[in-house]
Symmetry: C3
Subunit: 179 residues, 3 copies
Amino acid sequence: MAGSKLAGSGKVILYIGGARSGKSRLAQARAESMAGELVYVATAEAGDAEMSARIARHRADRGASWRTIEAPLELPSTLKEHDSVGRILLIDCLTLWLSNLLLAGRDVPSARRALIDTLAHREATVILVTNEVGMGIVPDNELARRFRDEAGWLHQEVAAIADEVLLVAAGLALPLKND
Amino acid sequence: MAGSKLAGSGKVILYIGGARSGKSRLAQARAESMAGELVYVATAEAGDAEMSARIARHRADRGASWRTIEAPLELPSTLKEHDSVGRILLIDCLTLWLSNLLLAGRDVPSARRALIDTLAHREATVILVTNEVGMGIVPDNELARRFRDEAGWLHQEVAAIADEVLLVAAGLALPLKND
Amino acid sequence: MAGSKLAGSGKVILYIGGARSGKSRLAQARAESMAGELVYVATAEAGDAEMSARIARHRADRGASWRTIEAPLELPSTLKEHDSVGRILLIDCLTLWLSNLLLAGRDVPSARRALIDTLAHREATVILVTNEVGMGIVPDNELARRFRDEAGWLHQEVAAIADEVLLVAAGLALPLKND
């Protein structure tokens, strides 16, 4: 992994799990166990009042040790802008970013390449959270099938560049990769 | 885990897996490998003739070494009532109990707290079977989304108090936790 | 496992994972790392022009080291016909075969028994790829529920006879069984 071998660069760690599996909680606890400046990169969009309230509540829950930035669409450039040695960037979550890209009609393969390129050249430690969405029945809906395919390809590419990958179920993490 | 440290209390073991993954069979074989009085706690409701027949068939399959009790809704109090040192209680399954609670309009968070409290103070060994339901595409249906969320939260809380958690796929169990 | 103990018989290896999890790629790389004649057993049907083009593209991607045979329905007899010491048969994938059987109105339990019997008496190494489809919400659609049930039962039986079973997520394989 070229990206993992740059001198001085932080680790890339991927938490993949089902809905309400506790993956965000584990990723956040992992980040807080590390020495460094904590930056929460939210991919959720505050589209309506309910979502705004939920985002504000989560921000308050994380407490004062975290700075929060938003990147519903421009995740690669936002990461690049905030990248720096000694920082810990927690991206929560990749599948929401992908969903935002698809709904906005963006070019998903080029966004994916930009993300992988940014991760390969990072200086910060980057922890990513994402949903496993491919272990159910093939969805009837065409957009859902495309989302599922793109999520799978994105996960494979991020996992290939990651130093650590953890599968999460029932709030417990199982190592899939540990370079 | 306070619950696991009570002197004389049996273990709490959680089997989580997909549909038809063999989780019930593995949990039953595990129970039968232990020394103790076997009690099967069924959460299925014999709502119609087909279901009654299925339940009767499963009961016959388990054989005479098992006693069967039913707890479609009142799982915590039923557990408490049948709890005793040296017994092995197999609960099959948590997701069906959750589904019964939701359909009956019960207060799910307080039922969950009651279950966790009962598990924390058990004397028997308790083996629980449940379905992983969060690794597919977000369901269209609102009740299905709520069910999925509640299942995830329930699994995290039971797993946190459990001594052992096993993820089941293709009839094979992978340890997620072993205290 | 009687099948695994026949003198001179090759291994049976099962890769199970979600959609776009990288399971086919891992299974193919595994086959190519072995010494032997490579045979790709495709269960996809070239029903229309798009599918024909996709199949032709995949065949070209695999390159000249692979021979491709098609078995959308008659998988057990096709395997038997091409079975031979020193060959490596890669079946991609079981869930597509199951879907073809259901759509054609075939007797699934007897097809499953024929497959297991063929695997038990194989001489070649057989690598099978399949989709985990049981970790989402119960599908509304009755055929989808039947497919999900049959897939789970098929996976349990193949895994029971397999020497190795690997769970795949994000392009990474986790051993579930290694005899």
